[in-house]
Symmetry: D2
Subunit: 352 residues, 4 copies
């Protein structure tokens, strides 16, 4: 692993694109060789085209990179493309790259529901990486498309997986309080959200109700057998910069003690193949015992923003349990998740 793999960031100007650049700067396995953007930015230096919004500075190595189009001839030999493209653009670009032999690790929702596209949280369903074999055979591709789920599904699914392994999950009610960065930039107007709550996010509830079922499902010779779980969601936007909070009620097959539940979270490690990668969360799940945690401002950077943080685990009078889950939506829930997926892909010998 001495030699770093050349990678590109597609859609480098946006909020997720920026997070990719922030995270990839000193990555042990990957070296950024290209940044792509939409037409009006092509040909400009990254420092001139990008309205940088992260509190850490734009890395010096990225400043002078000249933005290129998102096609195979413009990405400077990158073998992996991290895609922060809007779903509408991803729809055409991602399969074209896969066909051309490139591995696309995508944040876009365009292909998450395809039967042979893994929807991956390595610490949850790392073994779903095996779908790549089906995908490459089905399409005759050398490359591949890997996707990571919606940012609200992410923390929720990690927590559900720990519970499902120990006690069996049957029903889930989830109410999210989601951060502004999840809407991208410029995203939510300040006049809409200061002193306010927006009690809906377009298309989000469908994703939260469906994506975990695929991730908690079993890989078969012909795609994923969906988990037999029912999920019902409310999604809300609140005046938080980063970090999605989800209030969860679950019905389990068993009725464990609170202590047993907290232990199941703390001891959860995920599949072996996902345990020792550079981006493996440490801890995978953190449990807070205070009465008012997790909180986005205080807990979103747990495990460098890759951990799922659970708290307020208590009995529910209607279903079995209730608790609160937090995860960092642009790190674990977006750019960091894609990078973790690429690491898994690489470690499994899929990169030719």
């Amino acid at each position: 692993m001495n030699k770093q793999i050349p990678v590109a960031v597609l859609g480098a100007n946006g909020s997720v694109g920026q997070r990719f650049i922030s995270l990839l700067g000193d990555h042990p396995l990957f070296k950024v060789v290209a940044l792509t953007a939409s037409d009006r930015s092509i040909g400009k230096k990254y420092k001139d085209a990008c309205r940088w919004i992260l509190s850490e500075k734009m890395p010096a190595w990225a400043e002078e990179i000249v933005l290129t189009p998102s096609d195979v001839n413009s990405i400077n030999g990158a073998q992996i493309c991290f895609s922060a493209l809007p779903a509408s653009e991803a729809y055409d670009i991602e399969p074209a790259l896969a066909k051309a032999g490139i591995v696309v690790c995508s944040n876009a929702s365009s292909y998450r529901r395809e039967i042979d596209v893994p929807l991956l949280l390595p610490e949850v369903n790392g073994e779903h990486i095996g779908l790549i074999t089906q995908q490459q055979r089905n399409h005759g591709w050398q490359g591949a498309i890997l996707t990571n789920p919606n940012c609200t599904s992410t923390g929720l699914t990690v927590a559900l997986k720990a519970l499902d392994d120990s006690f069996g999950v049957k029903k889930v009610m989830a109410v999210s309080l989601q951060a502004l960065s999840g809407a991208g930039y410029p995203g939510i107007p300040s006049l809409d959200v200061i002193d306010n709550v927006i009690p809906n996010i377009n298309g989000e509830e469908e994703k939260v109700e469906w994506e975990p079922l695929k991730m908690l499902g079993k890989i078969t010779d012909n795609g994923i057998k969906m988990a037999d779980i029912q999920i019902s969601a409310h999604t809300n936007r609140v005046a938080v910069i980063d970090g999605h909070t989800v209030c969860v009620n679950v019905e389990l097959a068993e009725n464990p003690t609170i202590e047993a539940v907290n232990l199941s979270f703390l001891n959860y490690r995920g599949p072996k193949i996902a345990q020792n990668l550079p981006s493996t969360p440490d801890p995978v799940i953190d449990v807070r015992y205070e009465s008012d945690r997790p909180q986005p401002k205080l807990d979103r950077f747990t495990g460098k923003g890759m951990s799922t943080v659970v708290g307020r685990v208590r009995k529910d009078t209607i279903l079995t349990l209730k608790f609160v889950v937090l995860s960092h939506n642009t790190i674990r829930g977006a750019a960091g998740g894609s990078i973790y997926n690429a690491e898994l892909f690489l470690s499994q010998g899929f990169l030719k």
Copy 2:
């Protein structure tokens, strides 16, 4: 009704006390004759003792009133006391006043659970005012204690009542996104809530899970027979100034269409005896049909802050329905609610 009843506001300096003063200035039935406060403010003019935090100006009539203690000899002949006292102070002061012949309309939680104390939302359970007869007989009082519920229970219970009348409510899951003014002043430190969510409010979940059961119950000769409904709550504090939002899932005895549900909200009027009072909400329930409403910033002043606003009514895959409820926590959920209770008390001829 030509002559206005003399009234006092107990705990006039706090955020609910201020809202009482803002609402009582031009009330047709009541005239404020005394404002009370804790020791260090007694003897000061209201304008000098109170750190006014409402965006409407402190009314000129209140500025020069000298603050007095909360006892029967210091309230200048008031027949009704609106109590914005902390629960610990209310515990001793409110029954002492009732014993002395005063009617106490209280926001404090101290006596809400007493068998003969009505927990009142007139548009929900106006007939519970009849408990006053039991209360006065039990204690030998000429006066009385009336309570209004916790601010989060308020809007939720109004919506549940409309559903219960039409379709029968069996189970309720409620997740609140509560405003800062609900914590009083100084209340929540800014460093705790800007760019943050606090996923717990001490004691609030118990109130939200219990109070609606009493209000939706039936009055008997010996207190209230509690409603046979199960409620499970998560309560959260968010960076909103006024207006509590609640995401609700309900299981009903029937399975009505969305149209039927919306109509049940729109057509709900509440008991006749509560319909034509000065503070009767108009409408009792407003229904918003947009995909992202109600919102606290835009909808909290519906019906001068007395209406309950419902939106996003849709089918639930686990229980029967899900929707969002909003109400103004310091108007309908506190000061305005107490005043409405006093109006009901008066209209029923209880004031001697």
Copy 3:
């Protein structure tokens, strides 16, 4: 004045357009007969085309009005047009309307610097309305263009006028903390301003340094003789919804006591011709004596949002005085100001 004048609101969908509609609903002199919008909204009902963002509800009378283009044939006989158009559109539309006999009361900056266009704050320079005679003669118009200043210039200029009348103003240093609504809708992205200050507003400092000089100038037979005052400004955007705060240092020709300065503010009435109009601020200037006022949240609605609020008047060691000025940027500083201008125009018999 029995009969109301028919008026139109140009650019009715934006934040200033909405404020016009909110203020004009029960105006004694004006009746809205048309609302205009840009191409993609034309033909739609106002309630369907407008994303309403004010906390008061959209008035019922406006909901069903069908949006039309901003030309003389589409405004349903309106004699006065209140313009909330972007400067680029105002540039062509406003003179075309004036040429067609319409009176345009404009918030746009396009014509503020024209020699024969009054830049009006009636309580400051009501007599500048006389420029209309020069304007109509110069252009051969029956109609006219009246402008109101930039929202930050507004409160500052009212305060300076009171000081100038009493003590002579020579130099002014102004640092603004401006509200989000001043940037229109969608305006400032939430990710840019929560937990942040933006220390510049494009083009704003030039306006704040120039506009007061015209308004504090003298009308001559050939335009306005600019006031001999130097102004230097910093403009900042802060996380406030409505209400611009300005920290001011001034050098005066005299060295009055603080009491004399406060009295000069309190006693300031402005020109007689502007004193008894429906929108005349009451008070014209309010003075707060607390150590931490004015504050936008608490003071922006003084005089229904039309008053200028001054506080913290104290000696300055470098210039003569320092103080803080607040005014409501979308009421006094935009829509309310335009309406006040139209009232003055009408009262002076200019409307044929």
Copy 4:
């Protein structure tokens, strides 16, 4: 320098105390051996007594430390005490410690104005450390008191020093937009500052108008000869978590070009003795050339929060120049500044 000096943090529970703990964890020269607190926390473990509010986690090494009183017998042999005490407590405690041979690096304002107490920003006036000799002689102390300035004075003074060295500063007008963490915890109530500006901070303007004069003065055999500069300040609180922004106008003895001014900032290094310490800011001053920078959210962590960031340098029509200065108020402006002072003290051989 192999052996670390044992140090204590006085007032460890507060917001500045927490920042000390966050910064001292892996300091090359200092090792924390004691944390002190007020009476009701004494005897408790830090993790149980402290309401931690920083987004980085409480360091594991601090969690188990048992809080002690702030006296010489309770600080476990610490040679340096970093004081985050309130001014009223610092008044008695700090000289008692100095008398007992301890070096106190204080954030409190209690002794900043003493003739023989250095008010230190090492990169500005490192040579003022020489006052320690006078102080120890005057009081017969083995220990010493070193102070760092008010958080708003800090960034302003660094910028003024660079200008003064190059062009001579004569007059300064400063308007601050200060962060919430400057008021400590719980500090500013959320209801006071969301959707608001508070246009005053008690006692702050006096500090901003006086402290820079001492720091920009010359050390003599008998204290500091104050700089001959006039400063006038407005101070405001805004809804920002960390990072004070100051809008500055200055009159200089010369009239340099903007380029020359920017170079004077960029090339400023400060006294040699302060240039190579562990906390020396790198860069000392950063210059931003964008039209809307510095911004607290984006620039407060420049140089790990120790740099002063300047932007928008432009000509002023009344004084000579105007610009914007930003610095991190709890790092450079408080805990980080005290640590830098201690490093200077140590490097100059004052620690016996």
